[in-house]
């Protein structure tokens, strides 16, 4: 197993210099930024910044080169077939809304069905719920089983020729379960449905190859992958993107405009109205360079080992209930402490210098299914090590003692 030294890597993150002793276990919400990303953005603004795709002057051409180079960088990172399949958006939420608003009404009609899993983040649930409401379609929910594993048999039973889209997460942001996306795609394509994958939690921590997965859309946010906020990516199979009308309209996405009508550019520019987050794309390039510098296999192995250690360590704490995450859980552990509300746990952990997320994690229907108000969630990044998990476990123990006195 290839491992690297997270302690040494941590020095690449200025936040840990400014906040000594911080145990940051909330990378699932947003990852911290390495110097390479912070400096890369600043350097771009200092040296090469101008608006893109407009100016005939050299500086604008240079800025455009950076922006389009970022697109190519993302293409290679995802192993997409063509860089025109990479649409820059604000984040995964906007990526999913783009598909729901553009592809959705053109392809989902009354009586059709959209299938999601029961571990979706609200961002991969609400847009489909709204689309179905508007179209008179039905939203179907494929369940995970009691062990937290996605139930392929029950999923398959939901698929019919009425199924137009399957929208699933790659890794659950609550349970950490890795969904069998390639098999899901195979089954969905079997009934003629397209597949959108929410890759927010997978992109920062494992190799992702959209052609191997076979999915039609893949969405992720830059900020969860050590990049800046405000930039994200929608990968769309070129054929799928071509069949989609524009969503937001305006400058930068047209070929010809008269008062009567407008001709639109081809993808991806058709979907990038207005000035994009140029520096964000540059920052995302640096984030990808950072991830590739370590290696995605190495990151996955590191975080899988941390996850195993975390499960082992937390399971020993009496009264601690881990939310099941299946056999292939990666980097995310949700739990509850008997008789103690997650918010109280979060406050006590914070006082011990341990930053975790508490609450419903934008997955209220899943909380309802589990019969809980929320969870405490620890999620890992490249800078975490076993000592961080020990600090977490010690703080949880202290919390347990405090509330049982």
């Amino acid at each position: 197993m290839s491992r690297f030294d997270p302690r040494r890597l941590r020095r690449e993150f200025p936040i840990f210099e400014r906040n000594p002793g911080l145990v940051f276990l909330d990378s699932g919400a947003s990852a911290q930024k390495p110097r390479q990303v912070i400096d890369g953005i600043a350097e771009f603004y200092r040296s090469d910044y101008a608006n893109v795709h407009r100016g005939v002057y050299a500086l604008s051409a240079r800025s455009t080169d950076h922006f389009e180079a970022a697109r190519e960088r993302v293409r290679a990172f995802l192993n997409a077939a063509d860089e025109r399949e990479i649409v820059f958006v604000r984040g995964a939420t906007e990526a999913i809304n783009l598909v729901a608003h553009s592809w959705g009404p053109a392809h989902v009609k009354a009586g059709d069905e959209v299938v999601i899993s029961d571990v979706e983040h609200h961002s991969n649930l609400v847009p489909w719920q709204r689309l179905c409401q508007r179209a008179g379609a039905r939203l179907m929910v494929a369940p995970t089983d009691a062990t937290g594993e996605f139930d392929l048999a029950r999923f398959e039973a939901l698929l019919t020729p009425r199924t137009k889209l399957v929208a699933v997460t790659h890794i659950s942001n609550v349970t950490g379960a890795l969904l069998p996306v390639a098999r899901i795609v195979e089954l969905a394509h079997g009934v003629g449905a397209l597949v959108l994958v929410d890759g927010c939690q997978a992109i920062p921590r494992m190799p992702v190859d959209v052609q191997a997965l076979g999915c039609d859309f893949y969405a992720f946010s830059g900020h969860k992958a050590y990049g800046p906020t405000g930039i994200g990516v929608l990968y769309g199979r070129f054929g799928a993107l071509l069949a989609m009308p524009p969503w937001q309209t305006g400058g930068g996405m047209i070929t010809n405009v008269t008062y009567e009508e407008t001709e639109f550019q081809e993808p991806p520019h058709r979907f990038e109205a207005g000035t994009p987050d140029i520096a964000g794309a540059v920052g995302l390039t640096e984030a990808i360079n950072f991830i590739e510098g370590i290696g995605r296999e190495a990151i996955r192995d590191h975080e899988a080992a941390l996850t195993g250690y975390g499960v082992d360590r937390l399971s020993r704490i009496p009264g601690l209930q881990l939310v099941p995450g299946g056999q292939r859980r990666l980097s995310i552990l949700s739990f509850n402490l008997d008789g103690v509300h997650p918010h109280d746990v979060g406050t006590v952990l914070d006082q011990h210098g341990v930053a975790v997320r508490v609450g419903h994690h934008c997955a209220q229907p899943l909380m309802d299914k589990l019969g809980i108000a929320g969870t405490v969630r620890a999620s890992f990044g490249v800078y975490n090590d076993d000592a961080d998990i020990d600090r977490l476990a010690e703080a949880v123990e202290a919390c347990r003692e405090m509330f049982s006195r």
């Binding site: 008789g339 103690v340 509300h341 997650p342 918010h343 109280d344 406050t347 006590v348 006082q351 508490v358 609450g359 419903h360 209220q364 909380m367 108000a373 929320g374 202290a398 405090m402 509330f403 006195r405």
Partner: protein, 156 residues
Amino acid sequence: MSDELRELYQDIILDHGRHPRNFHALEHPTHLARGHNPLCGDRVTVYLAIEGDRIADVSFEGRGCAISTAAASLMTEVLKGKTLAEAQALFAQFHATVTGAPPEDVPEALREDAERLEPLTGVKAYPARVKCATLPWHAFEAALKSGRAGDTVKTE
């Protein structure tokens, strides 16, 4: 453990959080309102039985963290038997205390009740938790305003 944390989770808070008082529905409430904190999913329903301008009985139900449960429990204890004007004076004082605003003047007769709410002032040091302490009070206020009620008051 830090002093701030000890201040927040005093024994009396932990006790009321674990064993909330007046934790049941009223059979014939004249007023009720639900409070909801969408941030954490905490829910509280406050029941009031008002006779004239006096709170004859008050109770609550719901699920929440130790802070919001203890705040609701202590609230029901101090509100029982108060006039509406007294109740509002106590809320104003409490709200000012936990948000760090300049203290309101409390009539001499209510000073003891205001002191009973003091264990909750530890939330001042935790801005993210102030809403936990004020949620039941906002629900109480909503119950008064909405008459027989059914409105949900949100902290957001």
